[in-house]
């Protein structure tokens, strides 16, 4: 039963993920992205990581993709014609795909372990254990992620700052731009 649902949701997630890339209409692509994220959330549920599943739906499907759709609709992005891949892009994509397959293969064959002391199965079900792992074993990744998000936020503020505000302060520099 569990195996069946795993294959069902995995197939669903992969199919929707492919359709995100292959859809020519950007709104369709965004909708398939939502379905992909919901599929990933259902895989989290299969792993008993209920918290992660809820957060996945709440943050990604419920907020991030809303902004994607918002922008797509606001800019009225037209349906793009199917373009041929540039050789460099195709090469990079092929290489990353190979590395990914190699990594997954190594993991599945058991030649490499997932990392330092992988948490026991079902640890995501217990909120307290989850929080403890987040702030002890996995504190560094958490901090680095937070730092990355801070950088992104500062970047957005800097890029979206109105040029007129800068021009008021430094008129000479604004003229040369």
């Amino acid at each position: 039963m569990v195996d069946f649902f795993f294959y069902l949701f995995s197939a669903f997630t992969l199919a929707c993920g492919l359709l995100v890339v292959l859809s020519r209409n950007p709104v369709n692509a965004a909708v398939f992205l939502i379905l992909t994220l919901l599929g990933v959330a259902s895989l989290f549920v299969m792993l008993q990581a209920y918290l992660l599943a809820a957060v996945q739906v709440l943050v990604y499907a419920g907020a991030v993709v809303v902004l994607f759709l918002f922008i797509i609709m606001l800019l009225d992005v037209p349906e793009s014609a199917r373009k041929r891949f540039k050789p460099a892009v195709a090469l990079a994509a092929g290489l990353s795909g190979l590395v990914l397959i190699l990594g997954v293969g190594l993991l599945v064959s058991g030649a490499e372990t997932a990392g330092p002391e992988a948490p026991a199965a079902g640890v995501g079900a217990d909120l307290k254990a989850y929080g403890e792992y987040l702030f002890t074993s996995y504190l560094l990744p958490l901090q680095v992620t937070g730092f990355l998000l801070l950088i992104a936020m500062i970047g957005v503020i800097l890029l979206s700052r109105k040029p007129s505000a800068a021009a008021d302060k430094e008129p000479a520099e604004a003229k040369t731009r």
């Binding site: 709104v27 209920y50 809820a54 419920g62 907020a63 809303v66 759709l69 609709m73 909120l127 307290k128």
Partner: protein, 366 residues
Amino acid sequence: MAVDLLIVVGKALAVVVVLMGLCAYTVLAERKVSSWIQNRVGPNRTTLPVIGAIPVLGPMLTRLGLFQPMADGLKFLFKEDILPGHVNKVYYMLAPVIALVPALLTVSVVPFGQYVDADGVTRPLILANLDIGILFIFAISSLGVYAIILAGWAANSKYPFLGGVRASAQMISYELAMGLSVLPVFLWINTPGAPATLSLVAVVDAQAGAWFVLLMPLSALIFLISIFAETNRAPFDMPESESELVGGFHTEYSSFKFGLFFVAEYAHMIVGSAILVLLFFGGWHPLPWLTLADLGLAGGVLGGVLSTLVFLAKTLLVVFFFIWVRWTVPRFRYDQVMRIGWRMLLPLAIANLIAYVLFLAWWVTR
């Protein structure tokens, strides 16, 4: 196995039927309350052949408009269903369905009462007692915004589009304040040493003494305002403000598809009210510092019925408050909505959270 499944399906059906019934009669309440506020009478003509002919009771029920929801429901079913030629058909058809599904799904983790069984164990009345109840509700209800966005976009005309754009910006803005405003509640119930929980049943159990509205009034206020914004109710009904956008995102919808949007809006409102009651107004406890168990009424079927009734009464009071506000307060301008969300509620919610973190840290280590 099969019998268990049937029981589960039966329970789910019962809850959905009750919710739909509540929706229908909330619509009637909306019409009646609005007409009383505006010195009108409201619907008082619709009647049924047999019941309406009972001497005193019949005319009374008719004047209260209690048969009106049936007529309204039939109207939604039988009116001409217009499919405009300029719409994106797939998303146009899909949007009303997406609107209703999250509204009905969230009710599955809302506890609505409890009883003490024969072994003396207190059991909550709930379809699915998830440990992450509140997160599940937030996650599913956050998907409801897609209905509005897709409806606005698929209708392929100006007013619905503006409504859809407004809705997405508004709902994302207020989700943050809403999420932050409930965190103090869960900090309060999760004491160190005990197993962690985000369950709504645990929240109600923790309110056997003081209700959380007395302990954290600011959280309750922020949550209430955010719920108004998240359910697109006046004064936050920007997405469908009829004086500027005709009907907003559902301008191009008619008949049953409009009916689905309509029911979804009221279902969201009822579930939102229920969650407010659970989080801050003591759930099924009749009064602060007074539970049904104190009165000796918590046992068996009686306890279950009484707690459900208390909870429903409180929820309907909040629903009445929603209606009352709609017909009293004028609509905000859009820039005001954004200013309230980002510049007032969000900083206030963060300050509130930090204050309770500091207080609880002091309280626990004192």
